[in-house]
């Protein structure tokens, strides 16, 4: 369930970055998920398009990279 909250938080961060960059929309989000982070990449992938619908990340691609450790890292945002 916390994957949905995580998506909302991620999108809020992305919206702020979008405003700072002066861009129009988010095209892609690249996230690295630690194996011990407690986040299920599949659930994150399922929740993301639903959370993004109607926002400026609507239709954005979510790329998830699995990595060791407990961290969750927002590697890159592609904006257009």
């Amino acid at each position: 369930m916390h994957e949905a909250k995580l998506c909302l938080s991620l999108l809020a961060t992305a919206e702020r970055a979008l405003a700072e960059a002066g861009a129009e929309r988010i095209a892609a989000v690249h996230l690295a998920v630690g194996a011990l982070s407690g986040v299920a990449p599949e659930a994150l992938a399922a929740a993301f398009p639903i959370c993004a619908a109607g926002t400026r990340a609507d239709g954005a691609v979510l790329r998830i990279e699995r990595m060791p450790g407990r961290d969750l890292v927002l590697r890159e945002l592609e904006v257009v």
Binding site: M1, A4, L8, A43, I50, C51, A53
Partner: protein
């Protein structure tokens, strides 16, 4: 069966009817297995309330093309039409979709839309909820 009745609305936003229905239901004798929840944010509050229930009845204020005031049941497929004119109808639809996507949706979800904010509208919605609770209990046998 744990049945959660969820009133969706905002206390200060002029669309508190869903919350008022919960208040109306608190004054009634309901089965112990029924939980009443007020939800001011479809995400993530409604999603969390849905995730813990076997069955859920979601009550939300809605404005649609139906001229009649009062309350009525809404089919999930109809929610998209309601959502076009209700600010958080979209949020309710999204919370339901997320619960489905995350495999945490209740086995049964009923939606009740209130089209009006008067006492009679709230009472009409509360009656529908009570009828739904009776049918859910009967179905459980």
């Amino acid at each position: 069966m744990r049945v959660t009745v969820i009133g969706v609305g905002t206390r200060h936003g002029g669309d508190a009817a869903g919350l008022a229905v919960v208040t109306a239901l608190e004054a009634r004798a309901l089965p112990r297995s029924v939980a009443l929840v007020r939800c001011e944010r479809p995400l993530p509050d409604l999603l969390e309330a849905l995730a813990g229930a076997d069955a859920a009845i979601v009550v939300d204020a809605a404005r649609s093309d139906h001229a009649a005031r009062g309350a009525r049941r809404v089919a999930p497929a109809e929610l998209a039409d309601v959502a076009t004119t209700s600010s958080h109808g979209f949020g309710v639809a999204r919370a339901l979709a997320l619960a489905e996507a995350l495999g945490r949706a209740p086995a049964r979800v009923e939606l009740v839309a209130i089209e009006g904010e008067g006492d009679a509208d709230v009472e009409a919605a509360a009656r529908i909820v009570v009828e739904l609770l009776a049918s859910l209990t009967a179905a459980e046998g």
